[in-house]
């Protein structure tokens, strides 16, 4: 076992803890904060089933973004859909035997890597080319894109240019899950890829990546339009009535 293996193990344990605890704390703060008034953006569904459908359309198809800007939608949807395939493809590193669906998704996940980087490039191009989007872009916005593109490119690099010892990588990952640290190949591209992924996990709960859990707690999207039919009162608002 090398110092490198141990250092990366520590990094991944820490990153996982930060990601899980950080996002859980954020979600807890969203859950605990009341929504005192009914503010769905109307026309809104009038039933819980309708709300579930609205949120599903937002999550799966990015419905509102589609209404807003076709270019942003194309690049954004392409990136997210590709990211999903890529993540599914990577599940094989964490299980033995590999589920059939994960085996099935492998070739799609491979090429999704290109779509992911292309989508990110499109999104980045908007930040440079569209004056309005350029104006609102902060250093952190550019760095997020740089980070994701670096992760995607280093992954593609290992797949198509300079393959790494994926059998050893898998043994290492399975070992991490059993708290049994295995040797990690000292391949620079792999080390870069893993370090950047860990960084992404660490910044997730303290950055705009919180848009992922945020959507589910957005009152304009997750409330049903039932204000006349059902009385909606939060705890602090109810306290006013006692005065």
């Amino acid at each position: 076992m090398t110092a490198l293996s141990i250092a990366y193990a520590a990094l991944f344990y820490a990153a996982t803890a930060i990601l899980v605890v950080g996002v859980a704390l954020k979600i807890r703060s969203y859950v605990r904060t009341p929504a005192p008034l009914k503010i769905p953006t109307t026309p809104a569904p009038t039933t819980p089933g309708g709300v579930a459908l609205r949120l599903t359309r937002e999550v799966v198809f990015f419905e509102s973004l589609f209404k807003a800007s076709k270019w942003t939608w194309i690049f954004g949807w392409m990136f997210h859909a590709a990211l999903l395939l890529v993540l599914l493809r990577h599940v094989r590193y964490f299980q033995q035997p590999v589920w059939e669906v994960i085996a099935f998704v492998q070739p799609f996940g491979t090429y999704a890597g290109f779509a992911m980087v292309a989508g990110l490039a499109g999104l980045w191009a908007r930040r440079v080319l569209v004056d309005r989007v350029r104006y609102i872009s902060t250093p952190s916005d550019h760095l997020h894109l740089a980070l994701l593109i670096a992760i995607g490119s280093s992954g593609l690099g290992m797949r198509f240019v300079s393959p790494t010892d994926i059998v050893a990588v898998k043994a290492y990952m399975l070992g991490l899950m059993r708290l049994d640290i295995q040797p990690l190949p000292a391949d620079p591209l792999l080390l870069l890829h893993l370090a950047l992924v860990a960084l992404l996990m660490i910044v997730f709960p303290i950055s705009k990546l919180l848009h992922a859990p945020g959507l589910f707690f957005s009152p304009t999207r997750n409330q049903a339009d039932t204000s006349r039919e059902a009385r909606h009162v939060s705890a602090w608002a109810a306290a006013l009535e006692k005065k």
Partner: protein
Amino acid sequence: MATAAFETPKLKPYPVIPLVAAGATSHLKPFVASPAIQAAVGFPGELSEGWEQRAVAKMGELLDKYRSLRVYMDACVHCGACSDKCHYFLGTGDPKNMPVARQDLMRAVYRRYFTFAGKHFPRLVGAVDMTKDVLDQWWSYYNQCSECRRCSVFCPYGIDTAEVTMAAREIMDSVGLGQKYANEIIGKVHRIGNNLGIPGPALEDTLLGLEEDTKEETGLDVRFPLDEEGAEVLLVTPSADFFSEPHVESLIGYAKVFHAAGIKWTLSTKASEAGNFGLFIGNYEQMRNISLRVKQAAQELGVKRIVVGECGHAWRVAYSFWNTLMGPFDWLDPRYPVPQHICEFTWDLIQRGALKFDKEKNDGRIITVHDSCNVARASRMGSMPGGQFVIPREIIKAVANNFHDMAPGTIHESTFCCGGGGGLLTDDLMEIRVKGALPRMEALKNVVDQHGVNFMATICAICKAQFSKVLPYYGFDMSMVGGVHQLVSKAIRLGEPN
């Protein structure tokens, strides 16, 4: 008071997204409320030492009270979906009028005091301290938002800038920086009963005058009852309906509908205002107290139903919030929705065949309809989502022969604000009002050119007042705007049962 001269934007044949013009409207800001106005609504009179900490503390309080604010401060990814959706940006090009940039004025402060990244890497994430310079920008740009929610339609996370603007105004009020127009009006509604400050006797006199005018027009005793106990319906309507043109034409329309249907109704001195500026300043307690007047009036008069007149933000408060603020309504007739919009009321009667119209009386008019933002994106009519678009149009088609909608991206949920909503309907903000009306004026111009439209119906007192003032800037006649019930009034058949 006169404001500095400015240039009215040119109407283009098709919408053009302006190039970013930094600082184009940074000079625009409303008059500041005097200490007396502030005191009357329970806010500190002016900024005093330590306001920065108090503002940050207030922000913390609001973050704990409103999930919307908490989630919206975190969720934005700067994708730019909203960047070309605000009428104030489209009319001015000032990038801080892009919803995302307007939100970021608060987000920058939020990050600095409430997030790990902002506390430790402020430059990286654009976090800033709460300073006078920041406050000045808030004062300017949070008073250039009409809380119309158009941006929230297009945001992939549903981020609603109105929620952020309301929080910002609440924070500013809490440290002694209040907007003269809105806070003065809130004082008046508590002191006198309505936003215009019309005392009871003057209101009574006006209504008697309207009875005489209507008698002259129709030969019939159409009543405008005030404070009549035992009436079935309490009508709560914006006070502009009593005194302003074209608003009063719609009030006459409501009275004729009640007359034709034979339903006993009344107005109330105490609740002689449907508007609720508590919404505009984001203050829950004010919004609740202003609403409670209506409950009090309705219970004192012993009515069985409450109907709300043509007013956009009032309908939002009534439809979406009344049940929360002053419900439950188990003391009212359960067979009718509480509250009911006057358009729902009239449409119900039309469907039941209780009203008859001579549509040709409106033949001089070629009509389009302006969906008011709060009705369109923050409420509903009828039992079906989108009923708020269908019902007013169906009423218009029932009372008139010539109707043409404006372009699809400018109506329904994508409707453009009139430019004067959200507490901006004041002369000190005339420049932003005129420029913010640009997208609506362009859409109107198109139907004027294509179909000869000469009348734009709307169901909002603020829209009516704003357009009356702004239409002439764009070369239109100010009398082009009016209410839906103004059209009903013209065509309705009264007198002998028909």
